[in-house]
Subunit: 225 residues, 2 copies
DNA sequence: GTCTATATCATGATAGAC
DNA sequence: GTCTATCATGATATAGAC
């Protein structure tokens, strides 16, 4: 009873953000109405506009709340393994693991809603609304630059254009894996409790991506143009 | 002038489907209103309900129009290379190329709207609306079963669970690549006209996926549970 | 088959009392 | 900060003339 009785300062904001993560993941942005959102959050209909200004501003706040620390953690992790290597050149697999690990570990976080967000995030990379894609791209840009530079050092002989494509593929695999965690059942039966073991998934995904990134370079394109 | 004057039997249906592909890709399903859709198609507001029954039925018709022949082509292509091999076991790369090739070749088809559809399709694998995901899964099921069986023959020593995961990763990479064709610019500058060369993309993607699928199996999970 | 006109409802946002 | 009541808009769907 004391659980609901006390209301800390910004609890309303937090309740709205938490409910939004879950509902946007389930029904999409356009498919989630303010009425459903506020009633799920247990707050008044007008609260979203009071606290955030508009639905769009709520979406932006939602992404910033999670992405800013996640990307900071990704950069910190990369710097950590770089200093730990003491001058040795990193292998691509180490870099990939640093990148994907930060997303995947949130999957295990069901308590604070991290999993909802991470699934929403995967879904949103292909979001049609231009404003949302632009926001995501902007929040990601520094991290992507940092990792691209690291991979260029790890793969000095790979043509830059090929590396960009392979990073694109890797990003896609991660996004889809995060978003479509229930689609595995389409391919074959898995015990649901296994599907979210982040450590196991991290190993599987890292092995797959590292092999793809290191795929042999064709000496030439299949047929000269 | 004769171009618009004559109206073949089912031209209205086709005009609606073509406009829907483009608009759903740009704004999503919920973000595309019937008013925008019918005015873009140059037909009356009531035409969608007359010809399809409802917006949802239109979406279903849209997917069936493209997916049924595409998946039939995928199965036919697999059977073609299997008979052509005359008993030799196919390598995974041949199977992968057969699968991704059918999607990618539609990218070059700007004339009849194939590219719009293929981008829409990639976006829709992570669509939150359960009914749409269920429809897609149902339309894909026979193809996936067929390719899974082919890959099991090509990789007899791979544990079935690992293969399912790697197929999941491959499917994700393809989906994202199809959906987010403009996201490459986030990573680095590419000349836009290069980005849609389907043959080049097919080579790049197939090399990446084949390497990932063939990634060495860890002798054990990183740490025993 | 195609159109106009409209019914019915849900949406995001706001005004103003408390 | 929170509430109720409401506005203006735009949604899907349909009825009925042509």
């Amino acid at each position: 009873m004391s659980l609901r009785a006390v209301k800390p300062q910004h609890e309303t904001r937090t309740r709205i953000l938490d409910a939004a993560e879950e509902l946007f993941m389930l029904h999409g942005f356009e498919g989630t109405s303010m009425r459903l959102l506020t009633s799920r959050a247990g707050v008044n209909l007008a609260a979203v506009n009071y606290h955030f200004g508009s639905k769009d501003a709520l979406i932006e706040a939602l992404f910033r709340r999670r992405l800013d620390p996640m990307n900071a953690a990704r950069i910190a992790e990369l710097e950590r393994i770089e200093t730990e290597a003491k001058g040795r050149t990193l292998v691509p697999e180490e870099i990939i693991r640093a990148f994907v690990g930060q997303s995947l570990r949130l999957i295990e976080d069901t308590k604070s809603g991290g999993r909802s967000f991470i699934r929403l995030l995967g879904r949103t990379y292909t979001e049609p609304a231009k404003a949302i894609r632009a926001l995501i791209g902007q929040l990601y840009a520094p991290t992507m630059e940092r990792y691209k530079a690291a991979l260029e050092r790890a793969l000095p002989h790979m043509p830059r254009e090929e590396l960009v494509w392979r990073m694109h593929f890797m990003f896609g695999t991660l996004s889809y894996t995060l978003a479509a965690t229930d689609a595995v059942q389409l391919i074959a039966g898995c015990k649901p409790e296994d599907r979210y073991d982040a450590r196991l998934l991290e190993d599987r995904l890292t092995a797959f991506l590292a092999a793809g990134l290191n795929a042999p370079l064709k000496t030439s394109v299949r047929k000269a143009a």
